[in-house]
Amino acid sequence: MFDVMFAALGALVTNPQTMGLMLIAVMIGLIVGATPGIGGRLSIALAIPFVFGMDMTQGAVFLLTMHAVNGTSGQISSIMFGVPGDGDDAATTIDGYPMAKKGEAGRALGASITASGVGGIIGAIVFAVMIPVLEPIVLAFSPAEFFLLAILGITFIAFLAGGNNIFKGMIVGLFGMMLATVGMDPQTGTARYAGDYLFLWDGVSLVTCVLAIFAVPEMITLAVKGGSIAAISMEGVKFSYKQIFQGVMEVPRHWFLALRTSIIGAMIGMVPGLGGSAAAWLCYGHAVQTSKNPERFGHGAVEGVIAPETASNAKEGGSLLPTLFFGIPGSSGMAVMMGAFLILGIQPGPAMITKNLDLVWTLIWALVVGNLIAVTFLLFITRWVAVLTFINATMLVPFIVVLVVIGAYVNEGQWENLLILLAMSMVGYAMLRANWPRAPFVIGLVLGRIAEESLHKAMDLWGLGFFTRPISLVLIGMIVATIIFAILRSRKPNALDNLQVSS
């Protein structure tokens, strides 16, 4: 295993093309992360057109690096202006903003950027450590279990939508699975729901659907509702590199807290459905509870910046694990990432351990190297990246829409995909306006084909008896338990809900 591990590192850092792509990905990821109105999920969807023609490994490294460093620059507006970009950043704001108000913006930014990088690296290490532990479990799975895993995946991701929305999440997931059945049936050669339209015989384009469901509705909303922007002048939050360096040194000073919160974050990331901000909030709470002076929190305690930042970035490493080995995305961002992986020809599942372990190690190293590059860059250019917070997001809309339409077309080079883009954008916008979760749709679409193949294989091997296999029974139990738990949660909100901000 060690030879594969170090060979992957060697191949990554000695390939100038891959390293060049990583640098570009880091820059784009940092810029997108700091720009209001564009989330991590959207940035992956928008980057998909650019990975066409790329080598499988390079494309995956590019996308993963971009996604991994997104959050590193996201907290700049939270600390400098007290305006959190999303749920993860909200936890950082509690102490980061008071620090900035006390004239310690540089120290807070230095600490948060370094903590974010450290979290990302430890998250990747936790993922690496889990590989030998998970290997026998992953390899014990047969087609029967993979069918049930697909159902479990949708249940988990529907759960991610929130207790009250689990049925909506499941409906949307099944809708995605239903659309996955469009096209030529592999068993009988029947053209399902395709009629005489040849372009539908290969099925509905995944890229077009991802762009339509996520990107177009967000852009239309941005154009309709206007872009948010920090209302405070940057003049009030000046800082020096000396302050930033002081902040950097706060992370080794609180190394044990950083280590603990990184591990907690990575573990939370491994559990699909816990939601994007749960890690940051849980770890902030952990920092308060374990502090000797909890009264300092909320008034500018640097530990209150370190804990959520390490956790929120460490969870990316953790959420890659179920995505790659089980085909169950750990988060909605990873759901879009999984769709992108499939486009690149990467098939998540046990084969990742048996045949593509080198790729897995390359991705782990990409997380480590990408975070190192991002931290180094950001410590020097924070001042300028902060200016992005003042961009009027409405101005970005037309450029993103052009990218979306190009992306939908270049995927298969068929103009008919533009009609699908329009139809699915309407569905996506209706979901957004009606507050329906959208991530389960992508999971359903991705897992639909895998589920159908697995179901047919399982039926051929065991008939309906595959439901009674021991692992199948465990998985069925988990599906039922998830649904019951979600129903109970929707009746009585629990502690977890209190720690989650909508992702």
Binding site: V83, A91, I94, A430
Partner: protein
């Protein structure tokens, strides 16, 4: 979102599942297995959701979530005192519901117009027109800024996709016909 709209989404999903399940019944046994396995639970869940929507309609009106306020409350619970975040100004926010609906229609019009433009005249004709009109009319940029950004972006798109990635973008039905005529 109003109650009617919330139910509309469920009814739409129910219609999709019902039509797809109905169509699947006409397929051979092997081909209809998966659509039925997925579609029938889909129909049942939609019915359940409609029942839940009706039950909710009897209760209080759902208030739109303020995520920042929620985060402030959670933070206050954790640290034991009030926490206030900064303020973000919304640039160009709609004044009322009527204005929002008007903008929705206009924005969808732009999107539809761009797609139609691509289908009829191709990407390279439609991109600059769409960018210029949106930036000037919708985003409120000045003529100078709109023209400059349009030129820079259109050139960048051309060099990235046509030259850099070697992607051949759609030339459009009408442009294609004209090109064919010119080529003889």
């Amino acid at each position: 979102m109003s109650m009617i709209s919330r139910q509309s989404m469920t009814v739409f999903m129910l219609a999709v599942f019902s039509i797809m399940v109905g169509t699947a019944l006409t397929y051979p046994e092997g081909a209809r297995f998966m659509p039925l396995t997925v579609g029938i639970p889909g129909i049942l869940l939609c019915c359940l959701q409609i029942a839940l929507d009706f039950r909710k309609s009897a209760g209080a009106e759902e208030v739109e979530k303020d995520e920042i306020r929620e985060a402030e409350l959670k933070a206050a619970k954790l640290v034991g005192h009030n926490v206030e975040f900064g303020q973000a100004a919304i640039i160009d926010a709609p004044k009322d519901q009527k204005e929002e609906v008007r903008r929705e229609i206009i924005t969808w019009g732009y999107f539809l117009g761009f797609l139609s433009g691509v289908l009829l005249f191709g990407f390279w004709v439609s991109i600059p027109i769409f960018l210029l009109s949106f930036l000037k009319e919708r985003a409120g940029a000045t003529w100078t800024r709109s023209i400059t950004l349009t030129c820079i972006a259109s050139t960048a798109f051309y060099f990235i996709f046509a030259k850099g990635l070697g992607v051949s973008l759609y030339t459009g039905m009408i442009t294609g016909l004209i090109m064919d005529r010119i080529a003889g």
